[in-house]
Symmetry: C2
Subunit: 412 residues, 2 copies
């Protein structure tokens, strides 16, 4: 059996590296007598690469080669990845993708195509890098009704927040360091504004709750407005600020889904996840909370997830993998302001004592956090739990405070 | 398709509960038109149970019923579970077991029987309760060579240690509380002496490294000798004491495997695992460290893992699941004293300053930990990294100290 790899960037070259390095045991585990790499598709030239003899530039060579049964798509981006993957599935080839943009936008469509053509479309590497998450959700937790899924899904922002929390670096300095370390791209928008995390929570929510969740239906906030002042207040509260993507079953066969910075209390399994690591919490009705932790990105971890999917495709060439990922539905994701939460609020006030009195009359269970004694005109507080819409209305009614920042507080 | 459950204790009754509660989605996920519970085997009477009509006491009814294709074994213990499971596999029925004693002792034998008879023997629930671990190791991490696996595998001892660490309770009081809460049995030996954790690390090591590892080949120490004094010194060091089962690939195609209390430093993902929770760390050559966290025991979490295996058996009735779990080999597990480690040592000394000088001359990189100032004749230290045999010899050469306790220090 032959495979091909499309896209020889970080992940694609990692796939080739892992595949060749552990080739003997990979062939054994795939229950095939042979499993060989036949082509690498990339428009660039790699004259010094040890695999230079198998590079090609014409996609049709792969498409028309009947010996190639499994194709790895590590090109990234929506086009032409979508057209290529569609054509391959229609040609009866299984496809393994690490491309979260593709899966988040076209997952239902591609899974349907795979089913119609009796092949597999697998994408374990699209969420959480090498962390096993898609197979555990769809197989190991199959006896559960999943109620909620939440996670630290983006390593770049987690690195930046970790530097802010542990090294007292400003957001700008931490971002610069992330870029110097190769953790953030030159244009970091997709990471820091939460778009990357949004794609991943869409994939997870689609798998957990059974209907395609599109990124544009998920309210998304990034971390660029987080200040060291908030980091410090939240530290006094006994928590840390993390960028969390989450999705939750709500009454009426709908879900809530949101990506935003959140206050996570120190005892949480998500609080201790530092640097570029990711962690995903799944809450099931039988299992309770389960957490999966590991490297959410990087060449070899991500490649390891891709190759595991290749092994799966090879081993079960004739068996379709069904994910129960159905078509989307209008208004399936509710307005995030209808989700119940409590909020951390930082505010300035000329007369702080009076303002705190007002806060306590509006939120009887509010927890007040004072800064160090040198700061006189500022404080923070954590509200009761209500819908965000109701909380906003109450907040708007508190006179003589100037709200500086508002961050949701998670309950896990 | 019909299933039967053998053993209606905590886990068995949980399996029935989860199976009936989420029945509709379980049938759907199993890709069967129907999946029904036909028998519950238990020698006891359950006259008030809602399922009382399907209780039986004769194993042969299940064995001889051709409609029953999948049997759940939640009886526990080695006999007659082994004889029953063997007979069922030979009769062409798939078996799902939560019985770690059975899997640790007879895993290779039963997997071979299953393969010969073209059925499945699955046991996700035997390690880590509901935490998905066996499928992730064998499938998701299939592209990796696993170098090491380590975990907090026993909830009872982790609860006891948590109470000692967080509430300053003595071992005896914490054990009593565990018994009152139903976390520890009346005879707690299997838990507190590490035998339960030993069975689990044997199962994990057999899966990760490919040869059956028997419990009697694994050096096992429990937590009954841990004192509050050690808890306090380790806290000063910046760590916690956890009961860790671990197995590691070593040169010569052999492995090291051991169960013992270990000092785990605070930054570790295993340090923050409290109460009855379990966590398992897997270190692979491509993925790096991955950690799986959740409830390692309990009725519904464990049942959820059993039912997931049932779904898998039903879905893939004709496909054998191969685990690559081979026969054992003499001297496959090396003497634990040949494994490199560093040690935490607590010692009494009449002349403490002189003793510390001696320690520092024997272990140039030793980290010394002093107790609070009221204690004059005691201290603790952490040694360099060497084989335990070499460390013991050096320790024996330090005159005028009386070693009170020795605990291994992990590097994760």
């Amino acid at each position: 059996m032959y495979i091909a790899v499309m896209g020889y960037g970080t992940v694609g070259s990692g796939v080739v590296e892992v595949f060749l390095k552990n080739h003997e045991s990979i062939v054994k585990r795939s229950s095939q007598s042979e499993l060989e790499l036949k082509y690498i598709l990339d428009l660039r030239d790699f004259p010094d690469d040890p695999n230079k003899d198998i590079f090609i530039k014409d996609f049709n060579i792969i498409l028309n080669d009947d010996d190639v049964k499994i194709v790895v798509e590590t090109m990234g981006g929506l086009h032409p990845a979508f057209e290529f993957v569609s054509a391959l599935l229609k040609a009866g080839k299984s496809v393994v993708s690490s491309n979260k943009e593709l899966v988040a936008a076209k997952g239902y469509e591609l899974l349907t195509l795979a089913e119609e053509n009796n092949v597999n479309f697998l994408f374990e590497a699209s969420v959480g890098g090498g962390i096993p998450i898609i197979r555990p959700i769809t197989q190991c937790l199959a006896a559960n009704e999943i109620d909620e899924i939440a996670g630290i899904l983006n390593g770049t922002t987690n690195f930046i927040l970790t530097m802010m929390i542990e090294k007292n670096m400003s957001f700008e300095d931490a971002l610069k360091l992330a870029q110097e370390n190769g953790y953030a791209e030159k244009d970091p928008t997709a990471d820091i504004e939460g778009y990357d995390a949004c794609r991943k929570i869409c994939i997870l929510a689609s798998l957990c709750f059974g209907k395609h969740v599109y990124p544009d239906s998920v309210h998304t906030e990034g971390i660029s407005k987080i200040t060291l002042s908030d980091v410090e207040y939240v530290n006094r509260l006994g928590g840390v600020i993390k960028l969390i993507g989450r999705a939750k079953r709500v009454p009426g066969r709908k879900i809530a889904a949101i990506v935003s910075p959140c206050v996570v209390m120190a005892h949480s399994q998500l609080a201790n996840v530092s640097d570029v690591f990711n962690a995903i919490l799944v809450r099931g009705d039988a299992i309770g909370d389960v957490v999966f932790y590991g490297r959410g990105a990087g060449k070899l971890p991500t490649a390891s997830a891709v190759v595991a999917d290749v092994i799966d495709c090879a081993k079960h060439a004739k068996r379709k993998k069904l994910f129960g990922w159905g078509e989307s539905e209008p208004n399936y994701v509710i307005d995030y302001k209808q989700l119940e939460t409590s909020l951390y609020v930082r505010a300035e006030a000329g007369d702080r004592d009076a303002a705190i009195g007002q806060v306590e009359s509006v939120f009887p269970n509010a927890k007040i956090i004072l800064p160090d004694s040198s700061v006189k005109n500022e404080f923070a507080f954590v509200t009761d739990v209500e819908t965000e819409a109701a909380l906003n209305e109450k907040l708007g009614g508190i006179e003589n405070i100037s709200v500086q920042s508002v961050i949701r507080v998670t309950d896990y």
